[in-house]
Symmetry: D2
Subunit: 292 residues, 4 copies
């Protein structure tokens, strides 16, 4: 995910130093003009704005508290684009403020191909002036920005809630497809009906993935799906909000991982549901239904 974002920043003419655990990924950006850092903290040194796009809370904590916060200058801004917990985002805001640095959250919505095509949607939050200073960089990354509020964690919460909505649409597709398929109807036709009725690109894209049972290669892995649902449940518990549907998603992701599907696309939650209905994971029959 970081690579296409870096490419878009470079393409927009912004000077950029990159770091990646997998050195080759960073080196591949040199041709486009990026400088390559040897250590994560080196990317922070002298930067006006530091972007982080990492897998989870632990990775962000390691990089920021490990060295980046010491190396980042006073007045520089950390833009956290990762999907992290509300709680960590609050701690980062405090730590950067104590170091005389800025901090905004700008998590992104979209899969790697959307990032490549500059079609991400960004949810930003933080002090208004800091967001404005970073706006040209954020605009280089996607098709639009929504400002969620003046405290960085608010963007993280919105991202977490939006991902919950997306995951719940996958579960919904899974259950309705299992019902339709086991009753003897064509799931591809049913997917088309849902498109006609609900007209969401989510049902269109994921409906096709699930009807075709194309869970590999993963655009976003089931393990990460579990991580995101856990973030929703943690935020909900902090706010004392029961979210039984989020709990159901969590159980199904755990089932999928327990059965060995953890590296498949998170849409494979529909496969878990199908297996629970005694349907095998084999490819569904090709579409032959009629629609007018």
């Amino acid at each position: 995910m970081g690579t296409p974002m870096a490419r878009n920043l470079l393409a927009a003419g912004h000077p950029l130093t990159v770091y990646n655990r997998t050195r080759e990924k960073a080196e591949a950006l040199r041709a486009q003009g990026a400088r390559v850092a040897t250590l994560p903290g080196d990317a922070a040194r002298g930067a006006g704005v530091l972007f982080t796009m990492l897998a989870n809370d632990e990775a962000v904590e390691d990089v920021i508290f490990g060295s980046a916060i010491q190396n980042l200058g006073r007045g520089a801004i950390h833009v956290s684009a990762s999907t992290i917990s509300v709680e960590l985002s609050k701690r980062l805001a405090d730590a950067h403020a104590a170091a005389g640095q800025g901090y905004i959250a700008a998590p992104v919505l979209g899969r790697p191909d959307a990032a490549e095509a500059k079609k991400l949607w960004l949810i930003a939050a933080g002090p208004r002036d800091q967001i404005e200073r970073c706006r040209p960089l954020l605009e280089a990354l996607g098709r639009g920005i929504t400002v969620a509020g003046e405290e960085a964690w608010q963007a993280n919460l919105v991202k977490i809630a939006a991902n919950f909505v997306l995951a719940s649409m996958l579960e919904t597709l899974g259950e309705s497809f299992a019902l339709v398929r086991k009753s003897g109807l064509q799931v591809h036709q049913f997917a088309e009906i849902l498109n006609a009725l609900f007209r969401s690109p989510v049902y269109e894209n994921y409906g096709a993935i699930i009807a075709d049972q194309r869970y590999q290669p993963a655009g976003f892995k089931m393990r990460l799906g579990l991580k995101d649902v856990d973030l929703a449940l943690a935020a909900a518990e902090s706010a004392t909000v029961p979210m039984p549907l989020a709990g159901l998603l969590r159980d199904h992701y755990l089932e999928g991982i327990a059965r060995g599907h953890g590296d498949e696309d998170w849409a494979a939650i529909a496969k878990v549901v199908a297996e629970n209905a005694g349907l095998d994971g084999a490819a569904a029959k090709p579409r032959t239904g009629t629609a007018t």
Copy 2:
């Protein structure tokens, strides 16, 4: 729901005899050229095509097995537009076939205002020739028709599954809004973000209803929402398909009815979820968030 459908049939130039339990509703159609029947069976006598648009299985059973099937001539076709069970649809197919009559199912998707505007979507199923004979009538009712198969019950199953998808979107809105609202963010702004991301008219329409807490007057009552989820669970049990999300919807509709919200719009499932998070049902604060 029957009234706007009848109007559209009359407007398209089809002669029509109408029956409604509430005589005034039927009489109101006389000005547009409808004849009014005194008993449900009378509407069937001499008809080439008989439409039924009734509240539930029991009402359809009463009308059809009570008198309509005797009064309907051989070769006539019964078009069942109600949302009824798969099991009743199969019994109707058998009974009409035994009486030398045709039978197709053509349940409709859309609320009364969509029916009025001729914007319903129809899911039809049954013998191909019978559907073709009825097509001009079906086209008079909405904006499109999907043919789900050659057995009538298939349309009922698709309708039931599509309604389950819709209800699950309401639950999803309810849980995500409760999380966002109790964390101190603006639900109207969050609703806009969901629209930008998922671009479904369902999220747009219902997102606004739920954010505004406009649950009365009901476009579709919570009691009917429960009925439809029960139809999904019954069809799923027949096919031995677990649908835990449908079970969750059922529990929340039961909770809403138990707390006295049964005559509110089925979107008030979001109110049940909010109450379970300790949020009162009072109107949310007016929208003041910023979005760019």
Copy 3:
């Protein structure tokens, strides 16, 4: 189940005419003095008290409305020992009253071996004088009787609720054993700890069955477990009571049946839970834990 009950009635000296779909089962009772009826209705003819012990609502409806109610004399009493729905029990009460007959419900708790050992527990309900008239017969069947009320359906409701409690204990054992087992501990030892703490014969008996994974032969089949949970959900919906745990049990029984375990013991709900955790159904290792 009917056979040991019949044996106990005969052993207590009551004259008895028996009917069973499987003629051999009825014939086997002839040696103990039973007369054997050729048709179910024949068993009712001339009887002072008619017991029914049948699989489900449909079987009871067939027998009673099919012929027994016509053949049973005025003043005779029908004792329904089957686990049937509250709704059917109310219809039976009305029908028998209209025919000048008595009707009480006396569902039994216990498995076939408990019936054999005269250790069933009976929940009886109905008009007080009718229960008293039948008391010697009921006492011949088990170790105790609880009178639930003066309307027969009340006993059916209590039976349904008690079976829900039992099924929920099986789910609880399943989830806790899966956690303990997959964490690397001995389930047999954990089962012993539960016995020490909670001292219920249910945990003792079923804990051993589940720890040993002895799901065949079934004492009570998973399909019947589903039927009983469905009765609880139906009664709960009539009373507008959400029972999310009952919904969870239903989903797990459906999963088990969908995966081909429908004829195993209903304790195999724990196998469904174990499979969902990626544990195979193979026998657990023999017990080697230490306990003092």
Copy 4:
């Protein structure tokens, strides 16, 4: 909980230094011969065995890593009696080993009145010789000890799993009582039937509490119930085990806390269930049912 445990240790003749955040609680033990420490770390200094009985992970971390581990001598043993996470128990084992100290876990089952009456049950785990050295102390605390294994965390896992079983019995009572009560039957009579059938002291004690709706004063608060269910879910996620019933308990405890019942007894999960069925929390009618 710590006070009755301290009393039992003193009564058995063991010299004891006590610390409690609330000084009065510690002082009250002086009359029985306890020495009172001013700081938690002081209680550790010079002790051969250090017991901790604290509310949650955070409290144990504060005390042990804050000062106790430095003050405790080489060769001394820390006996952790609190219900803490598997993960913290593993960290404690490592830290104490590194400091040349012993560490066993010995969480207790039972409420304060059971502790008072020396009727706790202890689940111990850790190196065999350390458990043997502490056995006289453990025996002074309760009616029995089960050794769960040679690694301390195993006792914590068993405790967590056993508490999950107990909480699930409360949910089960809640749902079945709501069904019975809203159907118009007496819950006290139903509670007696459950006792006759399942013969567990848990159903007996908690069945009476729930039937009487005696949720205050709390023997164990709903907030602590939520904490324990969260420990089960965390251990289950580590082992990749879905526990949907634990998720349901979590939702109901969150609902209860959100509605303001957080300081009531954790049996009030049954009140949450009753409220969801539209039943008020007012006292149930006194018992008038008949049972024989």
